[in-house]
Amino acid sequence: MMDLLHRPWPWYVTGPLVGLVAVSLLVLGNKQFGVSQNLRHLCAAFVPADLTYFKYDWRRTGLWNLVFIVGVVVGGFIGGVLLANPHPVAITAAAVASLATLGITDFSRLVPRELFNWHVLLTLKGFVMIVGGGFLIGFGTAYAGGCTSGHGITGLADLQLPSLIAVISFFAAGAAASFFLLPLLVPR
């Protein structure tokens, strides 16, 4: 029983549940599933700086989403700590081999310990990865008007062409970054 609770969920459970999250937000209060909107709400709430993009009633449009994202943090604790998978992630042998070429050999947790810890922030590579990567995520999702959830799920499920363009673009750039930038940023 305990093993069942700690085991990772297969794609055919995970995917439909993600779809159900988007559906339930819509049915519950006509809310569009999209996490990156919260980055905008946080700016509007704390540092609007008189910029047009941040001049809106963030409480009325975004408070539900900020509450949602606090729930995500709690859910991350439940799924990632209380029900943590004790076994290494079961990625394909081809993926293991590909990541091994980067020097990644520890597959025991959710992220490689050697890449994501407080000490790497003091290194140039680590700083570029954690801070530079985060900056690109925030700038890019705001520019595109959505991320993997807003465009990838909500927009695609609504058959919107702009979302398809954004999704193709971020998958292509993500692949390019993984192949060409990641090798430069992994500590050796």
Binding site: V18, L28, Q32, G75, G80, L83, I130, I137, A157
Partner: protein
Amino acid sequence: MTAYFVIGVLFGAVLTKGELVSWYRIEEALRFKGLYLYLVFASALAVAAPVFALLKRRRARSLTGEPIAIPPRVMGRGVRYVAGGALFGLGWGIVGACPGPLFALVGAGIGVMAVTILAAVVGTWTYGYLRPRLPH
């Protein structure tokens, strides 16, 4: 508001137990070495798309009484979707996490991801600052 919190908790649990927060799963997909992430997306859309279509066709109302409507994205010249998507993709590829998972990972004990979230907020603010000068 409680309901949104509960759905958020569910989503956070799905992200972690479904390994969508796993750096390894994201890089596996971006290096085209496994189908896992693509199957998750496909099955999520297989659930959401027909329901969205049905809700729209029935002119359904939400439980709060509002007519359900998903505002259409304005295409414009489309620059924002290509360029914005590409910049996001570069960040996604090197961090190995998109916005939802960043929050879930903080909950899962990867505290340094809070720095990535902060950097992402700065990135969004910078977009807000440069917006009038950017092509859309």
